[in-house]
Amino acid sequence: MDWTKQAETMMQTWTEAQKQVWGNWYGLMSSAATANGESPFAFYPNMMKQWQETTMQAFNSWTAGSDPMAQNAARQLVASQEAMMRFMQSITQAWQAIAPKVEAGEDWQSVLKDYSSQYFQTVFGAPTGIMASGKDMNELWQFYMQEWQKMSQPWMQSWMQSPTNLSHIMMGGSSELAQLSKFHWDVYERTFGGVTEVPGMGYNRELNAKLLRGFDAWVDTQKVSAEYHTMLTKTFSNAFETFMGKLVTMSEKGEVIDSIQDLTNLWFDTIDDTFTHLYVSEDYLDLQNRLSGATMINKMAQQEVLEVFQEMLDMPTRSELDDAYRSLNDLRKEVKALKRALKGQTKTVAASQPAKKTTRKSTTSRRTTAKKTNGKSPEEATESAKSES
């Protein structure tokens, strides 16, 4: 494949398309206050998609063996082209919406607010569909269990393949266990809402309780994620209003922006400033902390459930490993402290023996000891360690 040739053809097509867009765009913007024409970007999404697909296909096969960082950088590069054009599309539409009001000296801000709010809802979507669509608890439970089923699939398969271990755990045959696990999922799927009625059966009871706690944690996480999502969407919307406001001010002052890069940089700066302002607000800090907390509690709840499975399979759990590592760490410290103490004692003894014949300053004796211990200059020691390592 001749990359250069292929790329040149691709870019030629791309440039032609852009030429068409900008030609239309400029004509439209020159008379924005009265224009009612179709957006020059109307055909853009499809064209962009096609171009991206072709580019990435060619690129992927061409760069298959190259550095992952380089691959990533190239992907970002192509994506940023799309982001830039989408952005041009959005400001064009917004300007078309507000220009007549600005021209007439009417309230353009509320028009912009509506546009911006709707636009970013479309761009970012509704906050996590699960929470926003008013699902009842039963439906939520179905979602939760689906996630767990996906997660537990490998474990379930392992159960089937490890009848010996399972029989140890459950004190029964593998078929009983398989039935029990099936029963477990079935019961939960059918009976949520009346969970307290789930029969408490020894081992199952513990799992039930942990699953319920997990469900609560999961619901909390979904709720807070939705709140966070809404806050970010609003912030983007605010940033866009600020940005358009800057354009209006420029327009009033007769100032112009004549390069695409300057325009996008103004947009980036506006977003960063708006987010900075958000980041230091109490509302954001509270929400960020709640999101982090809910996510962590959810993770711990997941781990608790997983540990039930791991125990069933005679596998070490995360908690057990953490305990073991902690003991190892404590022992490591003890051994190190003992070694240091021993080394100190050896030095004291070594220092006290020659001291009977001659008295020397402690610094000198330390130097002597160091040299005696190693018998090598720093350079020799380096060479020696090099060969050892």
Partner: protein
């Protein structure tokens, strides 16, 4: 009324054609770059001591008679030391070697879950102390020089307070000391990490995650300036695509940014609680092992280097040391850069290494 965006079709097409040309050239270049081509931390060095995952490197001197007191680098537990040795023409370590400094550096090693119980006490009173003792013995010296980088500077500060008898001179670079000093900064975007850390339920995080993963830490850094650090740098990349050298610099920085280690859990818990939240360092209330870190104990000469555009560790946070340090010989070195540019920008390269080397040599 005129739409202020006056990008005429001719201008737009010209600009876009230029961009497109650069993209072609850039993708062609990017496609030829293999993983081994993007290397960082290449200044020659040898492992002179190893204990568990910890490695102590000695950089090969490039002058016949290096300065008699070696300098030990204490790097942060976040990211990797390679920022101080990114590439041949952007290397603090390489430049210090040229200035005749004998450089050692500790690589803490990538923590796994096993290392979640390591505390700051382990890093200060065990790992760092072990390395200092090793170098002292090798060189037959009572004291050596220590240089700390960012959080590694805070670790070096604690060490110098607890073991002042082993430190000849202390050099700090972009080191947080007063973790609440961001409140005094006029700019809202300076010290955001401090603001977030103060509001974080760190106990919950460490209990759940063990070791906070590198991706999470990196995400926090990126979130500080969402557009500049996640989008703009890639759109700006267009401008360097046809410049092979600049492109490689960019990729090396990407590599450094995205290949950091996880942070040992208990050490992170303590760092957030005692330093970010309790601001105990300046109150002389940090307890490590059996010792209390008292900044007044730092009586050796101190060179405190800071970046005047540092939004991650704002200058006031670093410069606060002047108020609390016990040393009579305290010097500040201002570098016109941001937190990362401090180590890699061309301008900083010319100032930092000579500044540090001369200061050390003046003190014998």
């Amino acid at each position: 009324m005129t739409f202020p965006v006056q990008i005429t079709p001719d201008k737009a097409i010209h600009e876009l054609t230029e961009i497109n040309k650069k993209i072609i050239k850039g993708i062609e270049q990017l496609s030829t770059i293999k993983e081994d081509d993007v290397q960082v931390g290449q200044t020659p060095k040898d492992v002179v001591f190893q204990e568990g995952k910890l490695k102590l490197y000695r950089y090969r001197p490039v002058v016949e008679k290096p300065f008699k007191i070696p300098l030990l680098f204490s790097y942060a537990l976040v990211n990797r030391y390679m920022v101080a040795d990114l590439q041949e023409d952007r290397t603090l370590i390489g430049n210090l070697l040229k200035e005749g400094i004998d450089v050692y550096l500790i690589e803490w090693g990538d923590p796994t879950r096993k290392d979640r119980w390591l505390t700051l006490d382990d890093y200060v009173n065990d790992f760092l102390d072990t390395c200092v003792d090793f170098i002292r013995e090798q060189h037959g010296l009572d004291k050596i020089n220590i240089l700390g980088i960012c959080q590694g500077g805070t670790i070096a500060t604690c060490y110098s307070s607890l073991h002042p008898e082993k430190v000849q001179n202390l050099v700090l670079t972009v080191t947080p000391i007063d973790f609440h000093a961001d409140k005094e900064e006029e700019r809202e975007d300076w010290g955001l990490l401090n603001v977030w850390a103060r509001h974080l339920d760190i106990d919950l995080m460490i209990d759940a995650l063990g070791n906070p993963p590198a991706e999470l830490l990196n995400f926090s850094f990126m979130l500080v300036k969402p557009m500049s650090l996640n989008v703009r740098k890639y759109t700006d990349m267009v401008n360097i695509l046809d410049n092979e050298k600049a492109l490689m610099n960019f990729l090396r920085m990407e590599k450094w940014l995205f290949e950091g280690p996880d942070h040992p859990g208990e050490a992170y818990r303590q760092f957030v609680k005692d330093f970010f939240q309790g601001n105990k360092l300046i109150k002389n209330e940090v307890v490590l092992g059996d010792g209390v870190v008292d900044l007044g104990n730092i009586t050796m000469p101190v060179l405190n280097c800071y970046a005047n555009q540092d939004n991650l560790v704002p200058p006031k946070s670093t410069k606060a040391l002047a108020k609390y340090v016990g040393s009579d010989d305290y010097t500040e070195l201002e570098i016109p850069a941001g937190h990362i540019g401090f180590y890699v920008s061309g301008r900083a390269q010319k100032m930092l290494a000579p500044g540090i080397a001369n200061w050390l040599k003046e003190r014998g």
